[in-house]
């Protein structure tokens, strides 16, 4: 699924340096990235997603060489192949829950709204216990509900790869546990690959593999 070789990345003139000689992640694998703040966890997953571009090396996702793709195609690849879940949920305050879930379809014409998309939204909402909240706006939701909406948004285009950047970082332990459980169940069911950045070592037992990013980094990421 993901093949990284000789990856080298640096932010401008800063002292942070990420060097990944080789890393393979198989389809359906659940991988946790750990490391202290500024170690480059988020940088690494953004490189894998094509949000950032490496200075050197190769990143192949499903046999597609990201470093060779122009920006437009990288965005199309990202929106159709990758689902993002962020620590701060990053929901759009002026869109209803339904439209937040549909955001990838609103943003990029590469995703066309086929007749089964509304059905997908409904079934995702049911599975995430949001069925009665589709018309509501984010500010009326609890933290846990917001993160469940964010997970629905990440899954709506049925991506093969789900990237979660500390998705439980802003949640209380009980909610964090249930959200993680939901995420893992969904990934399992869809046979997607999950890359998750976390500080919570208590969650690590649920993952197939744990990677300490400190093994690849020197300096401090912004």
């Amino acid at each position: 699924m993901i093949e990284i070789k000789g990856l080298d990345f640096q932010y401008g003139e800063g002292d942070f340096h990420l060097d990944v000689p080789e890393l393979s992640i198989a389809r359906g694998e659940k991988v946790a990235f750990i490391g202290p703040s500024g170690s480059g966890k988020t940088t690494l997953i953004y490189l894998i997603a094509g949000v950032l571009q490496a200075n050197k090396g190769s990143i192949r996702v499903d046999d597609i060489e990201l470093s060779e793709l122009p920006d437009k195609r990288r965005r199309v690849f990202r929106i159709s192949q990758i689902g993002f879940v962020f620590q701060e949920f990053e929901l759009i305050e002026y869109l209803s829950v339904r439209d937040n879930i549909l955001l990838p379809y609103h943003l990029n014409p590469a995703l066309t709204v086929s007749p089964d998309v509304p059905e997908t939204v409904e079934s995702l909402a049911v599975s995430m216990k949001l069925a009665d909240k589709l018309k509501r706006f984010p500010k009326t939701l609890s933290q846990g509900e917001k993160q469940r909406v964010a997970i629905c948004r990440a899954l709506v285009a049925a991506p093969d790869l789900l990237i979660a950047d500390e998705p439980t970082g802003n949640l209380d332990p009980a909610t964090a546990g249930s959200i993680l459980e939901l995420l893992l169940e969904t990934v399992e069911l869809r046979r997607s690959t999950l890359l998750m950045v976390t500080h919570n070592h208590g969650l690590l037992k649920s993952f197939d593999r744990v990677i300490d990013v400190m093994d690849f980094a020197s300096g401090r990421a912004p």
Partner: protein
């Protein structure tokens, strides 16, 4: 584009307060110049059209704008009179057809126009119902005034009292309405028309009273000789012309003492027009004007003033533009994370730019729509507002 418009619309709809403030700011900036532009356009056109249709106007020397505005648009300006003898003189010269206008009075605050039947033919005014005023004391109403006063053929109308406290002035005249004109879209729609002699009755130059030769009460007679009977003020003066008293109305003035405010002159040909202008423009007390020239001069003045306001408007527009730019910039800063999220998910930076541009375009469109609507309301209400003043 539909996706971007959808997101932009959701944004402005969600932030109703902010949208309303921006829309109001832009509307307030644009409504005054837009209304002024529409008003000048609309009234300029109608002013020019009426001036074009009026070849010459004769009146007393004085402010030429006042004379033309009075003769063509029945403005309330005060103009010195010329006399009926000029009407006779022009007619006798056969250089043109004179149409006298006496415009000193009002009825229910609307201009009362004393003229002759030729005026209706000249302005191509036709009757919606009734007849033209051929007898003393009869009046014809313009379409708008008839609707506003809810008067029709068979009802009556008083001329306005000139002054409440001067007993030497004549009393209001009760006029019978004999006709209502069709709408013409000109100032004629808002005027009351009477025969010029009726206007002189209102002025007190013509009058009707009891026949002093047959009066029974000798106490009203001050003196009598072979030719003249002198009566005192207790003789009954008529304030309404009726079939019974119409023959008693008369004037003691000669035609060179009968005032008219202005005389519209339709010259027989170009040469006659030139001769008439030359004749009167040598006069010390009268002048012959070409209304089109005067109105164009007036419009030129208006446009010069408008240019000043346009420059002022441009500056206000620039400052509003800078204010909007500041709002957009601050909004962009506040929404940086939202934009970053969209980019991370897979949206191009250009789409993010278009999204903000679409939001601004929606606000601009709404304020323009409100501005245009309010300006049209102002323009449609302008005659009413001006009359109230």
């Amino acid at each position: 584009m539909r996706r971007i418009l959808f997101l932009a619309w959701r944004y402005v709809a969600y932030h109703r307060g902010k949208t309303a403030i921006l829309t109001a700011a832009l509307t307030l900036t644009t409504i005054l110049p837009l209304s002024a532009h529409l008003l000048i356009d609309r009234y300029g056109e109608s002013l020019i059209a009426r001036a074009q249709a009026t070849p010459l106007v004769l009146g007393a020397k004085g402010n030429r704008f006042d004379l033309v505005l009075k003769a063509l648009y029945f403005s309330p300006a005060s103009v010195d009179p010329v006399y009926m003898s000029e009407v006779d003189s022009i007619r006798e010269s056969e250089l043109g057809e004179p149409i006298p206008l006496h415009l000193r009075f009002t009825a229910r605050k609307r201009p009362l126009v004393g003229t002759t039947l030729e005026y209706f033919e000249f302005r191509a005014l036709s009757l919606r119902n009734g007849a033209l005023p051929t007898v003393l004391g009869q009046a014809v109403l313009g379409s708008k005034i008839a609707a506003e006063l809810e008067k029709d053929v068979g009802s009556s109308l008083f001329s306005d009292q000139q002054t409440l406290y001067d007993i030497t002035k004549t009393y209001p005249l009760k006029m019978s309405i004999v006709g209502v004109l069709k709408e013409s879209g000109t100032p004629d729609d808002e005027a009351v028309f009477v025969d010029i002699k009726t206007a002189w009755i209102i002025e007190g130059i013509m009058h009707g009273h009891q026949d002093v030769t047959t009066v029974q009460d000798e106490s009203v007679i001050l003196g009598r000789d072979n030719d003249t009977v002198v009566a005192n003020a207790s003789i009954v003066q008529y304030h309404e012309v009726t079939p019974e008293n119409v023959d008693s109305f008369h004037t003691h003035s000669a035609s060179d003492e009968l005032p008219v405010t202005a005389i519209i002159v339709v010259p027989s040909d170009l040469k006659s027009g030139t001769l008439l202008k030359a004749r009167y423009n040598l006069s010390e007390s009268q002048r012959m004007l070409v209304p089109l020239e005067v109105v164009e001069e007036l419009m030129h003045l208006v446009f010069r003033i408008k240019r000043f306001f346009d420059a002022n408007f441009a500056l206000i527009l620039v400052s509003t533009g800078l204010f909007i730019a500041l709002v957009v910039l601050l909004s962009h800063r506040l929404r940086k994370r939202e934009m970053e999220t969209m980019h991370k998910i897979g949206c191009s930076r250009l789409t993010v730019f278009w999204l903000q541009a679409a939001e601004l375009a929606i606000v601009l469109t709404m304020s323009l729509a409100v501005s245009v609507t309010l300006s049209l309301v102002v323009v449609s209400m302008a005659p009413h507002i001006m009359r109230l003043k």
